[in-house]
């Protein structure tokens, strides 16, 4: 089982960079006022980041994905997460067959 030095160097760089991006937020919040507008900005992060992650799939991929996202949202208000995910995936597979 071989380990190439250049490859290990690259993997180490990836690991260090990834961990730094994950730990940077812990350090950064020490300099953000955790009341008022600073707190409001931080509280918005989960919704803002999740929305941004899914936005291209939901809005830029095609009608099948957009409709399936709406169906998933509808299901998510009524069903447990696992069930909503199964409904959403089933919807996207069916809609891709129908519309694609």
């Amino acid at each position: 089982m071989s380990m190439d030095p250049a490859t290990l160097m690259a993997i180490a760089a990836m690991a260090v960079v990834t961990w730094c991006t994950r730990v940077a937020g812990l350090w950064l919040v020490r300099y953000v006022p955790l009341t008022g507008r600073g707190a409001a900005a931080l509280e918005a992060v989960p919704a803002a980041v999740l929305m941004s992650v899914i936005a291209p799939m939901v809005f830029l991929t095609g009608p099948a994905e957009t409709i399936a996202a709406a169906i998933t949202l509808f299901a998510a208000f009524r069903l447990p997460l696992m069930a909503a995910v199964i409904v959403g995936v089933g919807a996207v597979v069916a809609l891709r067959l129908l519309l694609g």
Partner: protein, 237 residues
């Protein structure tokens, strides 16, 4: 504060189940692509074990060449993972039950799905180390096993999108999003985030859209903020 560690761990583990299933074909595919690019089994294993960032690993493996261009790879990883700065800042205030020395270790496991479900947990309960371990442990082991098996035996599914696996993460995040509703200001945040993300994704190559959408949502939250007559309880949980 006392709590039942075992039941907290099990609650976390069952919360991460949809993500653990959805990630299997992607782990297999990543492992297989890695060996196609010339990585050994040991190198694939070490990468998954030390980096633990699926989207960054996929992007980097696509760009991989021999000998590995480490600086280019490091910069690409930084670009793909820069969103974690925002995510970590948001999670920081919710780690009150974690020992200070445990926090840098905790965030090592802060992959998107784990972070999102940890945040979701804080909407209804305080986040405990046992719950977080229940989220992170199974997903971490799952990722190691799947990428290793993909590297060792090849991938079972060439194009996960045919079976809707690509949409599974979107569906998980839509489901989690419903737990972050905080009234009308959330509508503004979501509109700004999706608008900015779509515009930037459309205009700029690469993963800048996540950072752009995240920051746009934060700006809207700052603009819409009004002093509450009483202290809103959310940040203090």
């Amino acid at each position: 504060m006392s709590y039942d560690r075992a039941s907290e761990f099990c609650a976390g583990a069952s919360a991460c189940l949809p993500a653990a299933v959805a990630v299997i074909p992607f782990g297999l595919l990543l492992g297989a692509r890695s060996t196609e690019k010339g990585l050994s089994l040991a190198e694939v294993f070490v990468m998954s074990a030390t980096v633990f960032a699926g989207s960054a690993q996929f992007v980097v493996i696509d760009l991989w060449s021999e000998p590995a261009p480490w600086l280019f790879i490091a910069l690409t990883t930084l670009l793909v993972n820069i969103r974690h700065v925002l995510m970590g800042a948001s999670l920081a205030g919710k780690l009150g039950a974690f020992a200070p020395v445990a926090k840098p270790v905790t965030v090592f496991f802060m992959a998107d799905e784990i972070w999102a479900m940890a945040e979701r947990r804080t909407a209804e309960a305080s986040l405990t180390p046992a719950y977080y371990a229940g989220l992170a442990g199974p997903l971490y082991l799952n990722w190691l096993v799947c990428t290793f098996c993909g590297a060792a035996f090849g991938h079972a599914i060439d194009r996960p999108e045919v079976y809707g696996f690509d949409f599974a993460f979107t569906a998980i995040f839509i489901g989690l999003l419903t737990g972050f509703w905080r009234g009308a200001s959330t509508a503004g945040v979501l509109a700004a985030s999706s608008g900015a993300a779509v515009a930037v994704k459309y205009m700029v190559e690469g993963p800048w859209y996540i950072l752009a959408g995240g920051l746009a949502g934060m700006v809207v939250a700052i603009v819409l903020w009004r002093p509450a007559p009483q202290t809103a309880g959310e940040g203090a949980v």
